[in-house]
Symmetry: D2
Subunit: 311 residues, 4 copies
């Protein structure tokens, strides 16, 4: 089990620390364009190795130390700035990706690529086009974290462990993401049992607020600490574990749509089954008509951006 | 199992992330003087909770949310700057500690205090004087990390897992720290079997270089990335685990000397047995005469600094 | 965190081995009426301790070493024989429990009692009556294992990880247990989307077979190896983890019914929220009319047995 | 990571349960000559899978499901009876091994074989001869468990965690095994600092009793519970972890001697470095003259037995 992380900023480092502590790889290669800082980070991480299950940690590139890696995690890019929309980052990041991916295609042709850089749905789609990889092996972290935030907020409001709350955020990882209220449940008890329109208006307000908190979580954190890192580090670790342990777990990762809900040729998040081959299968949920419309809207927004890009 | 971390800079955050992932506490309270940034960090950390064993994570102070904590970890302070000696940080940090410790004494009178701020031996001693706590309950992270670095470098040179290398760094966590070559061994085989003076000079050079790399590791990392954080986060987690799991493990933490090797009334690191009561016992090693002299020298250096302080 | 296991037969030992490996307690006391065999088991278990996180393991009784335990797990009793119905075991086991529980009441008055002996619903109810404990602190392992078997079989048929299958077995742990098809889903997709009666008859047969396999699993295993032990050991560990980590997870444990679905004064399994205080809350599921009738039938069967007992 | 266990009696099952809980393999195949009981055990184990990290668990043989396994663990054989010496079991077990190993050679030609059946040193040597495998890939569990028992008893007497006690049992896993007092230490402090002959006679008695308790532990447990299983299950798991995680740990496994201490062409335990290739290296300890004599004696005893066998 060999992994590479490309881009060791706040996010890449949180991923690396979490992946090492949780012992996900036998070998982990870290690649960045700032070699001196990276060398310092690797010294720091490696001095902690005697306290945990050891991983063979190396500074390097996919072209050499990272050759034939099983998973390539890309967090390179430019962090979202306060107030900046996720989509505005895109042109800068596409160019960085083109350089990085040329080597991934050459030296890790059988790898699964896990895209974390924002806007993650666009970057995932771009990665697919640039590499020509089969769509099962290009995965975006998508709304895995948003789904976790959603469950976590619902759980908190209800005084329940988040693992007993079943609810999804799908669509774009961004402003148009969709909360699937129609199937959200706590241990089998639906949160919205008789349709959104039959909720009292204070109930609607209460639940809407939770959705908005989920959607705006990144903005709120960036406003306070300048970037987000720890939660996405743990979300990425969770996706990696589903892959390396071949658990066939269902996660709302971003991937290529092929007609479901009338959406195709764009990447966005819906629940997908993940195993050691990447995306094994996409789950066909019965959405409410309203939810389906919102999801299609999310797809349209992403398509509008994507077609403006030269890839 | 309730913990508090005071000071959520680079080091405090690396401790928090590692302690959460490794599920060391049921409840963890984070305290800092920069409330907005802290709020952002806690939001970020807590959104990752659905991916790991949950800990009840709170923003607060020892005086309120942290009341009656079992362990108070203090990493508040000013980071070592490039080129700055660890000892020059001291006056600034003592003043910060005075304020913090007044509340710890009042609201967590039975806690174990784990001092991480530098210069850690001086800060540990100061904490002991300021709080009046029994010496078993004031522990400095000391040379736990240096010992790990030492084992890790030796292991690397010999192609062995670090857990099979047994060797200690004792004394000051700093320039006068002492490598105990006389008992260093790999699975029972001594590294210096017949005394340092009977080594060939190239062997001496080789081993001396390892010692210097250990001693200067922090400087080298700070030069590259500005501070150190991940390894000390894992070392701190390891000490916390020895306490909360009451494992009676031996760790080279800093604590009060009471006459062993002719050293007393100063804090420095020698192997100590740690359990849920704190320091249970100090291990009386048979040092070589040279090692004993170096340890006494380390004590003298620390005493010279300590007596210049008003506490 | 202190636990006691009473009854170290096949089941108790599987619980002990799993609880030790998964490091659930700081202190674990094992009590049985066969002291010599127990002494051998404890020697064997304790020699394995250097390979795992250490637990303080002791031979003893609730009256002495086990005093003030947090959790008392009772697996004492007589194993189910080939062909024997779970309910026929009851009289023998009630008498054993009376002796055991007198000491639990006296020496562990604040403990949570986790009943595993069969017939587990009856034994849980008997424990409640004999001890006079509040119903939150008397928990039967109930259909936690049946629910896991159900998920595991569904997952296997669908090629999905069991953790993404959400489905419950409720009611009696035994022949009248009820599969909740109406809410069973895989990542949000209902397995029976339009009611049982709208399934094709081969679909009904296919799903019925899964239910029968779940219900008869214990019989099948007992026929082959004489008893069941490993799975119930892991299920018990899972319940213990929910308690000691205060996770507020939802588990189908057995507990006292107080009117929900028109059922009261009997113990059976429905989803309940568990934390360090025991049963925190009972989940009010919307059952289909058919499911509700089956659950009431399960309750009636248990009541008929219970009223024949002198407690 | 694929493993096979051959022989699912008390020992094989304890190994399987521990290996599953500790998530050591992706795929685990269980082979035995009693298919019905084995089927029951596998049903029982697999129903517990939803509570732990899943392993693909199968009933089968090395010739089919187990093909190309990385590690083959052999615990088939006849358990030691009360009062029976380990060496008297040998003829019966050799014959069982011949059949088993023919298939291992054919279908898992690159596997590491981990021999657990007793007398383990003889069975390891026989396995080496029968298979013609390189000596690095034939490992006996040897005195790994005896060493753990030794550390555990020393730790208990001294009120220290076993992980801080460094001491070895080497030689035959049996009556002639050797305690290496000359290097035994607690955190660097020697237990016998100035030679055995300079101990007071009550100190000698005290330490001798610990050695005898280690040597006779299996007999004592077998007398009480009929066989030993849990500790050897955990010891075996520990060896497997050293292999699959390629940790380069030092363990006192049994393996072929090639001249060290004047001993060759026999298998016995001395500290060896283990990684994913098997035995990487043998540690050359400086023994006291008395310890060296005892080890040579152990070798002679094993040779005398081995030469009586037809292999
Ligand atoms: N998917 C999510 O949920 C999520 C959450 C948080 C952040 N992000 C995204 O992750 C990305 C990284 O965020 P960050 O906070 O770590 O940013 P950062 O600026 O701290 O780090 C970016 C790193 O990428 C490196 N880099 C730039 N070009 C490179 C190249 N060609 N090759 C290798 N490395 C290169 C930089 O040197 C830097 O170390 C951003 O795009 C951000 O928006 C995504
Ligand atoms: N023991 C070791 O081996 C070791 C290793 C690395 C760093 N350190 C030491 O750890 C300390 C922290 O280093 P860092 O890199 O995290 O520094 P940092 O500057 O990033 O963080 C210090 C934090 O302390 C906070 N703080 C200051 N005064 C406070 C007060 N009165 N109450 C609460 N919080 C307060 C600051 O707001 C800041 O968040 C330094 O003293 C450093 O030298 C020790
Ligand atoms: N709830 C479930 O899902 C489930 C699953 C499997 C087994 N079980 C039940 O668990 C119980 C134990 O099964 P087993 O296979 O371990 O049986 P077993 O016969 O192997 O063990 C029973 C143990 O209880 C001990 N014991 C008897 N009276 C005692 C007393 N007064 N005090 C202390 N110990 C006493 C016996 O000495 C023996 O060691 C049975 O009732 C069985 O039906 C429940
Ligand atoms: N190395 C150690 O420290 C240590 C410790 C305990 C036991 N042991 C040894 O482990 C072995 C097993 O002990 P146990 O208590 O599990 O015995 P057991 O009798 O319970 O189990 C032996 C199993 O081997 C199976 N078996 C027999 N022939 C077989 C064949 N040809 N193919 C496949 N399976 C076959 C049997 O069906 C049975 O299930 C014994 O040799 C025992 O002495 C070693």
């Amino acid at each position: 089990r060999k992994g590479v992380i490309i881009g060791l900023g706040q996010v890449g480092l949180a991923c690396a620390y979490s992946l090492l502590i949780q012992d996900c790889f036998d070998e982990l290669v870290l690649q960045d364009i700032a070699p001196e800082k990276l060398e310092g980070e690797i010294m720091d991480l490696s001095h902690g190795m005697p306290f945990i299950s050891p991983t063979d940690l190396k500074m390097g590139t996919v072209a050499e130390e990272g050759k034939d890696a099983d998973i390539v995690i890309i967090t390179a890019g430019v962090a979202q700035r306060e107030g900046e929309s996720r989509l505005s980052l895109v042109e800068r990041n596409i160019n960085i990706y083109k350089k990085i991916l040329a080597d991934v295609v050459k030296y890790c042709p059988d790898s699964i690529i896990l895209v974390v850089s924002n806007p993650v749905d666009i970057m995932t789609h771009a990665t697919l086009k640039i590499t020509g990889f089969p769509s099962s092996r290009v995965i975006g972290s998508g709304t895995v974290l948003d789904t976790a935030r959603f469950r976590s907020l619902l759980a908190k409001e209800m005084g329940i462990d988040a693992r007993s709350v079943h609810a999804y955020i799908i669509g774009e990882h961004g402003d148009s993401e969709v909360a699937l209220w129609s199937m959200a449940n706590v241990g089998g008890v639906k949160i919205v049992p008789h349709g959104w329109e039959n909720l009292a208006s204070d109930e609607q307000d209460f639940l809407s607020k939770i959705y908005h908190n989920v959607k705006n979580a990144a903005y709120e954190i960036i406003r306070r600490k300048g970037s987000t890192s720890y939660a996405i580090g743990l979300a990425t670790t969770d996706i990696v574990k589903a892959i390396v342990n071949s658990q066939e777990r269902i996660l709302t990762v971003s991937g290529l749509m092929k007609g479901m809900y009338g959406i195709d040729d764009i990447c966005l998040s819906i629940p997908r089954v993940i195993n050691e081959k990447g995306i094994l299968q996409t789950i066909n949920l019965t959405l409410s008509p309203e939810e389906e419309k919102l999801l299609q809207n999310s797809a349209t927004i992403l398509k509008d951006i994507f077609k403006q890009l030269k890839i």
